[in-house]
């Protein structure tokens, strides 16, 4: 049989001390792995944010060239050709005579400068003053590289004469930075210095509105029914499992549903914010249902029984007592859904919301794009100007998300209740 005394007395003596020291060292290492992991995760966040900020902030400023506009002619020019010729004159004026061949300096200005000039000269009055014109993306990148120490690896297609001209303009103090407000007031463009996120913002707003108008009532209604009225049987059990699964399946599958149902059966036009919004509504519906149900569940049974005992009907109890008490939770869940929908893009790709949108849509049926898709489209373009724009658009998107998330945190803090 077992000999009791054979069992070693543990943990005494020098050998045990050594063993213990080894175990304690292993413990320290184990703990260190935890710290390293968290450090790594934190540095990923820093790297991500750092990259976006470093690459994105120059997009919020733009390079302008101050040109001496001198216009006395009685007749305002009609076509772009003439405006361009004028611009060419103005840009050459501050420069000492050089070997600038005809119009070789025009590409220094943004492609739309002639429109700005046309507006200035539209009334035909003589004009004699310095005017700031937006520089082309090439010049913008060049100056930002020089002054802001960014885009170090950007290649430039500026010719030597153009560069000479730029040096001269800079020496004359005619190159300057200004806030790039058109980034927020214009739609997409082929030219990075003209492209902006306005159309995408409007598109996002419209799409989100559709999603909420669709998903909030339906989601809240379903949550109320499921948690207050639905009979406890196999069918509803199965439905709950299904809703939980809907919340976890890839959003791209909702895109397929949107394509099959909204576009193919309901014939909503491709790229329309209506189709996109309804599809995003499908994406956030399970989120709203689940969080509303959770919020409803936290209202204690005693409150229900109390109200019912006083003779209130089930529906009255619901609207007078349960709903007001669970509203903060329901709103939080809805906001979570909005956060989700605002950053979502995969299902929209399939509805054709990748169109090139210059002007914001005027109705729900017009082609629209949203901010994440705008980012996706720009991200494919490797030129320095578009990398800047993409990063800046990303920053704007993240800012919105941060704002929404702070509201969620505040809501939670404010209404956290212990029953």
């Amino acid at each position: 049989m077992m000999d009791i005394d054979r069992i070693p007395a543990p943990l005494k003596g020098p050998q045990v001390t050594r063993q213990l020291a080894r175990r304690h060292r292993a413990d320290m290492r184990f703990r260190l792995y935890g710290l390293i992991s968290i450090g790594l995760a934190f540095s990923f966040i820093l790297l991500l944010m750092g990259t976006l900020i470093i690459k994105g902030w120059p997009a919020f400023i733009r390079t302008e060239i101050k040109l001496p506009v001198a216009f006395n002619s009685a007749s305002t020019p009609q076509d772009q050709e003439n405006y361009d010729r004028l611009l060419n004159q103005f840009i050459k004026k501050p420069l000492s005579e050089g070997a600038y061949d005809n119009k070789s300096l025009l590409p220094l200005l943004s492609a739309q400068s002639y429109q700005q000039l046309r507006i200035l000269l539209v009334d035909g009055n003589p004009l004699n003053k310095d005017v700031h014109f937006k520089a082309s993306s090439e010049v913008d990148t060049w100056l930002k590289t020089r002054r802001l120490n960014v885009n170090k690896h950007a290649l430039t297609s500026l010719t030597p004469p153009q560069l000479d001209a730029l040096y001269a303009l800079e020496k004359a103090g005619r190159l300057c930075f200004a806030f790039n407000h058109s980034f927020f007031t214009r739609g997409d463009s082929q030219e990075p210095e003209i492209a902006g996120i306005y159309a995408a913002l409007i598109g996002s707003l419209m799409t989100l509105s559709v999603a909420i108008v669709f998903a909030f009532p339906v989601g809240l209604g379903a949550a109320l029914y499921l948690s207050e009225f639905a009979p406890r049987n196999k069918f509803f059990e199965l439905l709950e499992i299904n809703i939980n699964n809907l919340a976890a399946i890839p959003t791209i599958i909702f895109g397929l549903l949107g394509l099959a149902f909204f576009l193919n059966i309901l014939k909503i036009p491709r790229s329309a914010s209506l189709a996109g919004g309804l599809t995003l509504g499908l994406v956030i519906l399970p989120i709203i249902i689940i969080s509303s149900k959770t919020a409803l569940k936290t209202v204690p049974m005693t409150i229900r029984f109390g109200a019912l005992a006083l003779g209130a009907s089930q529906v009255q109890t619901l609207f007078h007592h349960i709903l007001p008490l669970s509203m903060p939770g329901i709103l939080t869940g809805t906001l979570l859904g909005i956060v989700r929908a605002l950053g979502e893009s995969a299902p929209l790709l399939m509805l054709g919301m990748v169109a090139f949108i210059v002007d914001p849509p005027k109705s729900l049926l017009e082609p629209a794009t949203v901010l994440p898709i705008q980012i996706f489209v720009w991200a494919k373009n490797p030129t320095a100007g578009f990398v800047e724009n993409t990063s800046a658009a990303t920053l704007v998107l993240l800012l919105f998300l941060l704002l929404l998330n702070s509201i969620i945190v505040l809501l939670r803090r404010r209404f956290e209740r212990k029953w």
């Binding site: 077992m2 543990p10 005494k12």
Partner: protein, 269 residues
């Protein structure tokens, strides 16, 4: 064989044949600003069962947890005074808590087997301490511990079965087997039978009695009869103070302090 405390009358001389396993001197324990124990001085003899009794909240568990420094895990807990185990201060600098706890095992109020198999529960300690070199030796330890805990007969054919499927009493004996498996010198038990029915309690009590020759046992209990049945020594705590201690029979029949009298006759607690 008498526990020496200031509460003991000066005339009774402690016999010399047994040196104390634990010797606690002027022990204070604070949880934050709350004082849970105040200047407790107590000797716990080797090879015997010592029972700690007293009304709820008087600090029995707190005292027990001081003996293997489980209170270290509580950031609020702070200690003054000293506790000697075999003459060494366990709160001295450089003492390895891990080693201490291997020498002073603990069984808790609620049975807390790990969600593993019965075998793995008992083998847990020996494996980690590296007590065995082969599976064969480990088997021997597991079987031996289960036998000592009086559980082997009941579980011999389901050693790989989940421990959580055992009954409460079996689980508690498994926890005792788990503690025995690392060959501790002392076993601390905090109300080990409070979650058990009378039959299971009787089994655990029998087990405690059979273990006392090999291990020093300290047991917290609310049950006077239990203390009378299993403990040779008893210490009575009241509001964080050690009121009196001595031979169980002596203390029960002839309490010196009015508070002890009151507690024993059921006037409070």
């Amino acid at each position: 064989m008498v526990i020496y405390t200031p509460a003991c009358p000066a005339g009774t001389r402690p016999p010399k044949e047994s040196k104390p396993k634990f010797s606690v001197r002027d022990l204070d324990l604070f949880y934050g600003s709350k004082k849970a124990l105040s200047s407790v001085t107590l000797k716990i003899p080797q090879g015997q069962v010592t029972a700690l009794i007293g009304p709820s909240g008087c600090g029995k568990s707190s005292f027990l947890r001081c003996l293997n420094r489980m209170n270290d895990l509580n950031p609020l807990a702070r200690i003054a005074g000293s506790v000697f185990l075999d003459g060494d201060d366990i709160y001295a600098q450089g003492v390895d808590v891990v080693q201490l706890r291997a020498r002073v095992g603990m069984v808790f109020q609620k049975p807390n087997p790990f969600p593993k198999s019965i075998y793995d529960n008992v083998a847990y300690g020996p494996r980690i301490h590296g007590l065995t070199k082969s599976r064969h030796e480990l088997d021997a330890i597991v079987i031996d511990s289960l036998q000592k805990a009086g559980l082997y007969k009941e579980v011999s054919d389901s050693l790989e079965g989940p421990a959580l499927r055992l009954s409460g009493g079996q689980q508690q004996r498994l926890c005792i087997a788990r503690a025995i498996a690392v060959s501790p010198e002392v076993i601390l038990m905090d109300e080990p039978c409070s979650a058990l029915d009378p039959v299971a309690t009787a089994k655990v009590e029998g087990l405690i009695d059979s273990l006392r020759h090999q291990y020093t046992i300290v047991i917290v209990t609310h049950n006077m009869q239990q203390a009378g049945r299993v403990a040779q020594k008893t210490a009575f705590f009241h509001m964080g103070e050690l009121v009196e201690s001595g031979d169980t029979g002596n203390l029960f029949t002839n309490p010196k302090d009015v508070r002890t009298q009151g507690y024993l006759t059921g006037r409070f607690g």
